[in-house]
Symmetry: C2
Subunit: 341 residues, 2 copies
Amino acid sequence: MRITLNDVAKRAGVSRNTVSLVVNGKYDKVKEETRERVEDVIQEMGYVPNFAARQLTGKRTKTLGVILPPLRNAFSFYNMSEMSSGISDAAGAQGYNLMFFVCNERFKQGLNIRLLKDSRIDGGLILDNGRLVIHNIEELERDEIPFVILNYRLERPKTNYVAIDKEHGSYLAVKHLIDLGHRRIGFINGSLPQHIEERFYGYRRALDEAGINLDPECVVTVTEGWVEKTGYEAADMLLELPQPPTSIVTSSDLIAIGVYKRLKEKGLRVPEDISVIGYDDIPIARYQDPPLTTIRQPYYDLGVKAVDILMRFIKNRDQKSVHESIKPILVNRASCSYPPR
Amino acid sequence: MRITLNDVAKRAGVSRNTVSLVVNGKYDKVKEETRERVEDVIQEMGYVPNFAARQLTGKRTKTLGVILPPLRNAFSFYNMSEMSSGISDAAGAQGYNLMFFVCNERFKQGLNIRLLKDSRIDGGLILDNGRLVIHNIEELERDEIPFVILNYRLERPKTNYVAIDKEHGSYLAVKHLIDLGHRRIGFINGSLPQHIEERFYGYRRALDEAGINLDPECVVTVTEGWVEKTGYEAADMLLELPQPPTSIVTSSDLIAIGVYKRLKEKGLRVPEDISVIGYDDIPIARYQDPPLTTIRQPYYDLGVKAVDILMRFIKNRDQKSVHESIKPILVNRASCSYPPR
DNA sequence: TTGAAAGCGCTACCAC
DNA sequence: GTGGTAGCGCTTTCAA
C-alpha cells in the first residue's frame, strides 16, 4: 500500500490537515518547527500525494491533454515531432505536464476528444493531420473545456485554432518562381481536403497577380499522399504535357524529392533545365542535390503558440475565441533558377 | 458543473449503482431495457466518467507515464521521436494512453520520477539521454511501481532496462573497415559516460580480434556533444597525426557529417582517400554525398520492447527483472571503401 | 436485478 | 496554529 497523508500525519504526530498545509506550501499557517518535522517525515517515508484524490477536490491538474491524430509512427513525422517539441517546451516552462491520448483509427480519435472531459487535464490540444474528426468538439464547447486545435481551421465561434497559412506558403513559392522569370509553373498538390484548397488558392493568387493565365493542365492533384512516389509519378504527367512547365511547385519536400528522381532519370538538370520547389523544410531538404529551395512551416512555433493561447483560456475562460495563422517562409537554396533560354 | 453519475441516474430514474454497472460494461447484472435507457441518457447528456474518482477507488488507469530527459526540443531528436513513436504505437495497441512528464533540468527529471508514484499511471518508462538521474529510482522500487529504463543500463536487481548494444555497434563499424583492409582506424567518440565506454570497447574488441594494436592517438574523445562542429574539429586532430588514419569511425551521423565537411575542405575524397562511417542512421544519412555508411540504432523497436516488458510487469509484478539489449545493424552505403594505394 | 452505505485520499471549512 | 468534519465522484460490498 502506498503511503498516505494519514500515515505521514500519524508518524509526525500531527493532524492530516497540517500535513496537507505543508505539502501545499502554505507555510504561514504552520509553525516553523512543525513544518520541518513534517518535511522530514515526508522525505523519510517517500510520500507523494495521490493525484487522483487531489483532483477530486477540484484542483488544477497542471497537465494538458494532447490528442494525437490516427497515425502510426506519429512522432516520426516532421510536423508532429516539431509540434510536440513546441508544446512540451512551452508547457514545461509553465510547470505543466502532458497527457497524450493515442489512437490508431479515426473512430478512436473521436473518443479521445471526449476524454478531455474526464477531469485529468486543465485544457486540451488537438493535433490534426488533415482529417480531423470534429465529432465531439461541440461537447467540449458545451462543457467549457479550454482547448485549441492545431493545424486545422475549424470555424466555430467557440473554438480556438492555430494553423499555418498554407495559402501564403504556396503564394510565396509561386511568386519566387515568377520573380525568376517563370511563366509556366507546374503544381503538384496533395490530397488533404482543407490543405489542398488553401495551397491551390495561393498558387492562383500569385499567378493572378502576375497576369498569368492558369492552365488547368499544369495542376496535378494527387491522391497518394505526400510521399516520394507521388512526386515521381506526378512529374511524369507534367513532363508529358505538349508544353511542359519550366518549374514545378510541390506541396511537400518528399514530393519534390520524388520529382528530382524522375527528372534525373530523364536527364533533366535542376535548376538549369527545370526549377523545383518543396514545402515543409524537413531536415533532409538541405541535403538534396541540389539543396532544395522550399517553404518552411514553423510547426514548433505553432505548438508554442497553441500552448500560449490555451493557457490564457485556462486562466480565464471568458475570452474571445482565437483563430490564428502563422506564416511560412521561403528558404532559398539551389533548386530554383531562371527558366531555360 | 460537469455531469456526474448521479445526474445520469436521476434522469434515467435508476440508482447510481446501475449506471456504474452500465458504464463499466457489466451488462449481465442489468436488465436489457434498463441498460438501453441508461445508455441513451448518457449519450444525451454527454456524460464522461470522472477519471480521478475512478482512480481513487484503485482502478487501473490505463495510462503509462513517460519521463523525458531534460532536453529542449525533445521530440525533434531522432532517438526521442523514434522511441516515442514505438511507445505510443505499442501502448495504443493495448488501449493505453501516455502521460509525458516534461522537464527542463536534471533536477526536475528527478522530481518527475517520483511523480510516477502519484497514482495516475500504471507503470513508467524512463527515457535516458545519457545523464540519467537515478536519484529516485529506489523509491519506485520500494513502492513497487512497475517501470522500465530506456537507453541506459542501470544494473540493479529490481530495475528493468532496455538499451541498445552500443558496444556491438562500434564493433560492427570497425569490423567492416577491417574487412575492407583498413589497419589504421580513427575513432571519434562522444561524451556521455556510459555510451563512450561501450563504444570504445567495441572499437577495441574489433581491433583485438584482428590483431591490430590500438594506437591511443587514433582515439579522439570529444566533449561538445554529437554535433557537426565536433566532427569537424576532431577530423583535424586525426588528419594532423604523423600517420593519419585511412578511415574514421564516428559516434554519430552528425559527427560524420562534420568530418565530411572538413575532409572536403582539405580536398580529401570519401571514400577514395578516406573512409567514414556514421552512427544512428538518422534520415539525412542517406542523402549525404556520398551516402553515409552507418550503424542503425533501432530506437523505435526499443520503445516497443520497453512497453512489452512494462505490460508484463503491470499484469504481474512478480517477475524476474529484465535487462535487455537490442543490437544495432550496419547500413552499408557508399562512404567506405578499401584503403588508398 | 436494484438500492443504500461505506470508503478511496485529499482539501476546505469550521471551531478551538 | 491545530484538529474535527464534510464531501469531491466513483466502485464495491451487502441487503432488499
